[in-house]
């Protein structure tokens, strides 16, 4: 057996252990449950737990999708920070061209924000 195949054998053993370990654990837990705590469902036990309160209404309520706009606007600032941080760190050693480039980049993002603002995206109603 060459060294190369041996290193693959190690991977195979690792894979086997990785699969067997959780299976054994889950099996043991299952065995424990069937022996010591067999299922005895009742109306009170099957009810959803809501911090001790009586549960009311349907769980399938619709949430506002308006939040997606905030996620998109957040991206403007998020991406900005990503580039601004290295820019700020290296600021003193950068040529004028780099400063202009980052300024153009910032202006593009600001335009996105201005557009969203004027379109009323930031107003909640």
């Amino acid at each position: 057996m060459t060294e190369q195949t041996q290193s693959y054998l190690f991977l195979a053993v690792l894979l086997g252990v990785a699969v067997a370990f959780p299976l054994v654990m889950l099996g043991l837990a299952r065995l424990w449950a069937t022996v010591y705590s067999p299922a005895k469902p009742g109306p009170a036990k099957a009810a959803p737990y809501e911090c001790g309160l009586e549960s009311t209404g349907d769980a399938w309520v619709q949430l506002r999708s308006g939040y997606y706009l905030y996620a998109i606007v957040f991206l403007i600032f998020d991406v900005e920070a990503l580039f601004l941080l290295p820019f700020a760190v290296a600021f003193t050693s950068l040529p004028v061209g780099a400063f202009v480039a980052i300024l153009v980049f910032l202006l593009l993002l600001v335009e996105g924000l201005v557009w969203a603002w004027q379109k009323g995206v930031l107003e909640w109603n």
Binding site: E111, V114, W115
Partner: protein
Amino acid sequence: MNDLVLMGLEGAVLVTGLAVLLLDLWITPDQRRLLGFGAIATLGVIFCASFAYLPDGTQYAFGGMYALDEFALYFKRFFLIAGMFVLLLSVGTSHAEEGGQGEYLSLSLFALAGMMFCASAANLALLFVSLELVTVTFYVLVGFQRRRLASLEAAIKYLIIGALSSAFLVYGIALIYGATGTLDFRQLASLPAAVMESRILWLGALFLFVGLGFKMAAVPFQIWAPDVYQGAPPSTTAFLAVGSKAAGFVLLLRVLHQTLPVLETRWLHLLMGVAGLSIAYGVLCAIPQRSLKRLLGYSSIANAGYLLIGVATLSAAGATAALYYLAGYLYTVLAAFIVIAVVLQHTGRDDFDSLAGLHQRSPLLAAGLTFAMVSLAGIPPLAGFFGKFLVLKAALAAGAEHPGFYWLLGIAVVGVVISLYYYFGVVRAVYWGTPGEQPAGPIRVEWPLQVALYLAMVAILWLGVMPNQITNLAELAVKSLGLR
């Protein structure tokens, strides 16, 4: 600074798009049309400025990322003309558009900038980014009428298949990089022959072809075309049919001849097969169509096939023919979609029945649609005829070296004959169709659309009667690509 000057045309288009987006926020609805005309006029100025560029050979900018030569300039002018017509079309039908008119204009301008970047891409990274700029804006443009179910359906289909093809494209680029260690077109072209034999490189190039094939709507990557063409707003469909297809071809030609010339022989059969299948599929599936937009969707697949014949000949004559063909196709498709846009606005439908009696309701629209259909069918003396003639002539010449081209020629000729049936079906519906219970009042065409339609008709005729001027430009472009 020199880099920015070389990239000036794209830069100007981008700035126009950004300016339109901002200006739109502070103007009244009445001024929206003026904004559109302003954008069109700016594009006109940029088009004229493109003639100030006189590249001596190929000039590179941004570390070889961006190339400017006659070939790139030919396509940039092509895209600019397409952009002007599309903006005119969208301004003319503006009250039918929901959403913002300003956003529609600026998104179209961004897509236009992406196409122009495609024409100059000299690096696989720029190739991918510019194609994505085109595709991502088109996702929005296709679904722009967001209260129309058909528009949304088309957008979803385009999004899913477009994302799939982008995945192929970027995977292919990764494989090419893995095999060669470079993304630069010039470095790829000068690789030693041993590297060129790498199977990984072939696979990468094949995936690249899949990505470009999606843009061109060539079989077997055509499945999205009819549905998207039918659902999208007419101005978007026109842009998609002309711009997206040409963007695929400009990149294919550059990759094939300038970047990886080794593919020329490897891809010969692939290109021939795809061309033949595209023609056969497009022509046969167009026969039963009753919707005009769907019909043009299948026709666009067939036209991708004719264009690919020109590319597959691997000769300067073939590439010149393809470039001329694209120019003729541009005006033809634009004329057709201007008519469709107006008919859609008045009847809400685009099937053959809604065309009945069109020659009485609006002789101009009837004439425009007839011009477009006759040109698409390839009847002299219009542009479509001369384009097909040049492509078939190039294929005939290539047949001397490779007999397979005679088969392709046969498929192409049979395709032309079959296409006569459905193109003239449209003409028949316009002039001899029996109108149903529809109100048969005259259709008033707004003046921007009238101007656009007249211009397109004159261009179709002019290209067909005097093809020399365009073929000379195309020859110059092809020469700069290094084709003999």
